[in-house]
């Protein structure tokens, strides 16, 4: 395409594709996306109690945050919720990915509406709906309740990479296995599962961060003992903002970015 474009009177192909100022706006948008996060991290090293008045470099807030018992408890809660919600959502998503291939049209439309609903409906509605539902069925609030709710909105994130992988599998593989006399369970265990493994890992990682980072649903379902890390951070922001908030936030940012990066590498790797 460039070859043909280069013969045009108005210059090279690349120049024809470029619109004035678009590169500049793009650079500005990238700066806008990342600079706020950089400021959060930078001020986590501030030795001053007043977060945005720089006094000097210090790691004391990290020490402070990492030795705080309440924060450790909140972190444990978050990890428990995220692990169980990830495991549950991956198992359910795996079933859905396979089942969706065989559902009648009306069934799969209904399924997609349910899968997509937590993504499109404002989270506050989903949060208070789940709260009202749990109170109605007398389900106690706390990390159990949070885990059940997180599983529901982790399903789409677990599902998409698995589904992408499933669709790339050559159907003749199944036929060959079936022809050789393998039953459905054996085919699933020996063929489907290993082929889907990268999609499952990528989906699990995405589900894990989505649960780990969730605030609104956790906030409404926490009850007295269910404080997760984001709920704890929200409390810190409400009470007194110190560089401690930034230190804790930076650690959570680092964890999220690391996990999404690993997931990206796994999905990108040559099949």
């Amino acid at each position: 395409m460039n070859m043909t474009l280069r013969r045009r009177p108005r210059g090279t192909g690349e120049a024809l594709k470029d619109f004035p100022t678009f590169g500049l706006v793009s650079a500005a948008v990238f700066a806008f996306l990342y600079i706020p996060l950089l400021f959060v991290v930078a001020y986590s090293f501030n030795s001053n109690r007043v977060v945005t008045v720089w006094k000097g470099f210090s790691l004391e807030w990290y020490a402070d945050v990492l030795t705080n018992n309440d924060i450790q408890r909140a972190l444990m809660n978050s990890l428990k919720v995220a692990s169980v919600a990830t495991a549950l959502s991956v198992i359910l998503a795996l079933g859905l990915a396979i089942g969706l291939l065989r559902m009648a049209r009306s069934g799969s439309t209904f399924a997609w509406a349910l899968i997509g609903a937590p993504l499109i409906i404002p989270e506050i509605v989903f949060a208070i709906g789940t709260l009202a539902f749990f109170v109605q069925i007398q389900m106690p609030l706390g990390i159990g309740a949070i885990t059940l709710a997180h599983t529901a909105f982790c399903i789409p994130f677990a599902l998409l990479p698995i589904r992408a992988r499933l669709r790339s599998v050559d159907l003749s593989v199944y036929e060959a296995a079936a022809d050789l006399g393998a039953n459905e369970w054996r085919i699933f265990r020996r063929i489907t599962l290993p082929l889907l493994a990268p999609g499952i890992v990528a989906g699990a990682l995405l589900a894990f961060i989505i649960s780990l980072d969730d605030f609104i649903v956790s906030y409404f379902l926490a009850g007295p003992g269910g404080t997760t890390l984001p709920v704890y951070i929200f409390g810190m922001i409400r009470n007194a903002i110190t560089p401690g908030v930034n230190a804790l936030s930076s650690l959570l940012l680092l964890a999220s970015i690391l996990i999404v990066f690993i997931s990206y590498v796994i999905t990108r790797r040559k099949r």
């Binding site: 619109f19 706006v25 948008v29 065989r102 559902m103």
Partner: protein, 308 residues
């Protein structure tokens, strides 16, 4: 065995999806149904929850307030909050659109291997905690923050400009939160744009601006519409940006809903407000579906495709 509709033997069957389907019915559909039911019940006199007595009072409360003596009068408080939320969500969607078209087009015109990396860079902030991303603007916009610090240092201002706890801060937080939702669908449309069309237009003597307006914009319209929906709906129901950056002066619907389930302890009213949000969500999606169908008739490519 259950009849196979599509695919190969041994690929599995539809009932593999049954557990997931039941789970979603129990934890997505049921809560929404409970919300609708609660919105037609009475307020609990003591503690949390509802009294099981049919009532349309929650919906009346949207428009009227009742004085201590029991007299009803028109009260636009909540209508104003809905209006504000609409306004903020619209501004957010508009600003996101203006920022997203250039960056989506710019990325779409890079070499293929670089495109994937750039798009990944756009998505990274989406995967970080929304709470932290919103908190970042408390740091940036406050009176001692870097913006006021910089302007003060170069002598442009003598007093800090109050930016935090204003509607401006709320909208900035919303734009930041949802910008990737606009960039991604527009990019998905732009990536499939055939630049030979632009080339043909140049050959016919069109200027850059004309090409952009007459050729490129119509081609990426499905992405634009999907992006507007994906930004507008969550922005309308946002809780964190107005809560942390608006400083109580710029309540949006979500803050009022949260208050009903918190200190105000008026669950039916909170449920009624949520039903309104659900209705608006459905209406927006309906308009979107109609537009998408009309466009797929003309351009052969649907916005649904871009959205999913």
């Amino acid at each position: 065995m259950i009849t196979k509709k599509r695919g190969a033997a041994g690929q599995g069957s539809w009932w593999a999806g049954a557990p997931g389907l039941f789970y979603l019915i129990a934890l997505v559909l049921a809560p929404l149904v409970v919300i609708v039911i609660y919105s037609f019940l009475s307020r609990a006199k003591l503690g949390v929850g509802v009294k099981w007595e049919f009532s349309i009072a929650p919906y009346v409360e949207l428009f009227y307030s009742e004085s201590l003596s029991g007299e009803r009068s028109f009260d636009p408080t909540y209508l104003q909050i809905f209006g504000n939320s609409f306004l903020y969500a619209l501004i957010t969607a508009g600003v996101c659109l203006l920022l997203s078209i250039p960056i989506a087009m710019w990325i779409a015109t890079r070499p293929a291997d670089r495109r994937t990396t750039l798009i990944f860079l756009v998505t990274i902030p989406f995967w970080t905690s929304l709470l932290i991303r919103t908190y970042a603007f408390i740091i940036i916009l406050n009176d001692n923050g870097p913006i006021n610090g910089f302007l003060g240092a170069i002598g442009a201002i003598s007093m800090p400009i109050p930016m935090l706890y204003t509607p401006f801060a709320t909208v900035v937080g919303l734009v930041y939160a949802f910008l990737p939702f606009m960039i991604l669908p527009i990019y998905a449309s732009a990536e499939r744009f055939d630049f030979r069309l632009a080339e043909a237009a140049y050959d016919l003597g069109a200027a850059k601006w004309t090409v952009l307006r007459r050729i490129v914009l119509p081609a990426i319209r499905p992405g634009i519409i999907a992006g507007l929906v994906l930004v507008f709906i969550p922005a309308l129901g946002s809780f964190l940006a107005p809560e942390l950056l608006g400083g109580g002066k710029t309540s949006m619907i979500a803050n009022v809903i949260a208050a009903q389930f918190g200190a105000s302890r008026n669950w039916p009213f909170g449920a009624a407000l949520s039903v309104m949000v659900l209705v608006i969500t459905l209406l927006v999606l309906l308009v979107f579906a109609v537009l998408a169908r009309r466009m797929s008739r003309t351009s052969g490519r649907s916005s649904w495709e871009v959205l999913l």
